[in-house]
């Protein structure tokens, strides 16, 4: 054990600079963490995802879909089988997206990866399992039961929930709730005009 400590302890002459550097590293990471709202990666609100404008197309399309009121991003994109899996996946994903974003190597058109698409599929079934597996309710989906096996739900439900075309330029005026940027619901002049009386 002592050996080990001695091994990683830097030579005395380096001591000061290493401490400063490590401190700076931690500081920088913390800073990045704060301004990139990495902590918000742990939350379930869709606002989290639109911290990156890159997610704006997905936000905008989801916000105009049938799922808006009952299923947010993480309901579909993060595993819900158990607690640990959920946060592990979130962390891993968050790191991936963040580095891609910072490194500016994100593609113009994002495509879902195999692993995350499996996650999504499981989530579709999590919510709609009752409707699509209950033989009694098959009347809604009956005809398609056999064709459905082994396919992703959105091979048929292509518009659920993002639609087909989601390149960044396709929704460039989309209203996404970027916190610093929320306008005044009641403009200043009107507030004043009302309060005057």
């Amino acid at each position: 054990m002592k050996e080990l400590i001695r091994f990683i302890r830097p030579p005395n002459s380096w001591k000061t600079s290493v401490s400063v550097l490590t401190g700076a590293m931690f500081g920088l990471i913390a800073y990045l963490f704060v301004i990139s709202k990495a902590d918000s990666y742990l939350s379930d609100s869709p606002e989290t995802c639109v911290n990156c404008h890159i997610m704006a197309p997905q936000y905008a399309t989801w916000n105009h879909s049938a799922h808006r009121e009952k299923a947010s991003c993480n309901d579909c994109h993060v595993p819900h089988d158990n607690f640990i899996n959920k946060y592990f996946f979130k962390g891993k994903d968050g790191f991936g997206h963040a580095s891609a974003f910072v490194m500016r190597n994100e593609p113009q058109v994002i495509k879902i990866k195999e692993a995350s698409s499996d996650v999504v599929q499981q989530n579709c079934i999590r919510c709609h399992g009752g409707l699509i597996t209950d033989s009694k309710l098959m009347h809604k989906t009956n005809k398609y039961h056999y064709e459905r096996q082994g396919r992703k739900c959105w091979e048929c439900h292509k518009h659920t929930p993002h639609g087909r075309v989601n390149s960044l330029s396709s929704v460039h005026n989309a209203k996404v709730p970027i916190p610093e940027f929320v306008g005044e619901i009641v403009p200043e002049w009107l507030k004043k005009a009302i309060n005057k009386k």
Partner: protein
């Protein structure tokens, strides 16, 4: 990251900078050509559904009984089924019910009428003050009001976020103890409409000389809540020419009725159905051609309902049919009640004898109008509208039972003939 964030905030680079109060849609339109163009498509009035659509329909022509119901009031001179936003100013200037205010001639109508017809309104209000805006007649501020309803009515000029641009809605919320600035984005997608698509009246007492635009929501937003509000303050819009009943006019309680329906309860907003996403040349944006969703089922209803277009339209018509049948019957009963009440006066009925009867007529017609004026209401909340009409029928008939007894007391025992209403002249 800092840099990218700034980029995210300004998701668009404005072509044109303009002020907060810019009333000209063309100017905003430079930055947002798609929204602008679709908005101006509200000019298209070709679509007609079973009961609604874009066309201007002369309702007094289609249904002359309305002339009886509104006898003695402006609406009996002219009333059209509304059309697109593009026409709001034109239609208001042209309507005969206001006493021909054309060409700067003196008009009997207050400036308050302009409130829901143009983005020049917030501009003038800011310049002159709210109460001052509500004062005076048309010819006085009419020349300031030139742009059709538009961007500045609903949007913040810097962020393009939705905003409330007029006082009445904010004040109504305040009086109910609610804070409208706490509204969610999704609620705002209906609240911008609730600035105009609501029942209202002019409060003449609040600020002397002003016809202060007010929403009767202090007791709540239902039909009965508003009725109680008006009753408690002894308010009437006019005295009926035939029956002498102290009448109320219901104007388009679109938002209030919508709130009682299942779509509102499930978080579906006006914009979801009337301004759905549109996909054009790979671009997605909110279709600003605000119109009947039945002209655009694929983008509106079918986002949520995987049903055939035909079947969804059928759903709407089926609900409307079930409602309109009884609404029509109520209309007939009200015509009868008015002419019977007139007969009673001729038979020298006293004020005392007529009092209850006239209140029943007032309450019954309030309900009929609530159902009739809430265009779309028979779909927005069919169970509630059905309920309201049933209570309206009950009250109209109750009035007529009392009238029959009154006739007997006056020694008259015949059926009063149903008036032949052929055209707009009574």
């Amino acid at each position: 990251i800092m840099e990218r964030k700034a980029e995210a905030v300004f998701a668009y680079t404005p072509q044109v900078e303009h002020s907060e109060m810019e009333p000209r849609n063309e100017v905003w339109g430079k930055n947002f050509p798609r929204e602008f163009e679709t908005y101006y498509d509200t000019k298209d009035i070709s679509f007609k559904s079973k009961y609604n659509g874009g066309a201007m329909i002369d309702m007094l022509e289609v249904d002359p009984r309305l002339v009886v119901l509104w006898a003695g009031y402006g609406f009996s001179k002219d009333y059209n089924q509304g059309r697109g936003h593009y026409y709001a100013l034109t239609d208001m200037r042209n309507t005969l019910r206001t006493g021909a205010p054309i060409d700067g001639k003196a008009s009997p109508m207050p400036n308050t009428c302009w409130t829901c017809k143009s983005p020049d309104v917030p501009r003038v209000m800011k310049e002159k003050g709210v109460a001052e805006f509500y004062s005076g007649k048309w010819q006085e501020k009419g020349n300031e009001i030139v742009n059709i309803i538009g961007c500045a009515d609903c949007h913040d000029s810097k962020t393009m976020e939705l905003k409330i641009s007029r006082p009445a809605l904010v004040e109504a919320f305040e009086r109910m103890g609610k804070d409208i600035t706490k509204a969610t984005h999704q609620e705002m997608r209906s609240l911008v409409c609730a600035q105009c698509h609501v029942e209202y009246y002019f409060d003449k007492k609040k600020v002397p000389g002003a016809a202060y635009l007010t929403f009767p929501w202090d007791n709540g937003l239902t039909c009965e809540d508003a009725e109680k509000y008006y009753d408690d303050m002894n308010f009437k819009d006019w005295t009926h020419k035939l029956s002498k009943a102290p009448m109320l006019k219901t104007q388009h309680p679109g938002y209030e009725v919508y709130l009682t329906g299942v779509h509102a309860k499930r978080g579906v907003s006006c914009a979801d159905c009337h301004m759905p996403y549109k996909n054009e040349g790979g671009m997605k944006f909110s279709d600003h051609k605000i119109q009947s969703p039945l002209n655009n089922v694929a983008n509106s209803c079918q986002v949520c309902h995987r049903e055939e277009t035909k079947s969804l339209i059928e759903d709407v018509y089926e609900r409307q049919d079930r409602i309109i049948h009884n609404r029509d019957r109520l209309e007939e009963l009200l015509v009868r009640a008015h002419v019977e009440a007139k007969k009673a006066w001729e038979l020298k009925a006293t004020e005392e004898e007529m009092k209850d009867i006239l209140i029943l007529i007032r309450h019954s017609q309030w309900r009929w109008d609530y159902a009739a004026a809430s265009h779309g209401g028979s779909f927005h909340s069919p169970v509630e509208i059905g309920r309201i009409i049933a209570t309206g029928i009950d009250k109209a008939q109750e009035a007529r039972i009392k009238l029959a007894r009154l006739f007997a007391a006056k020694g008259f025992n015949e059926e009063v003939a149903y008036p032949e209403v052929k055209n707009k002249d009574l």
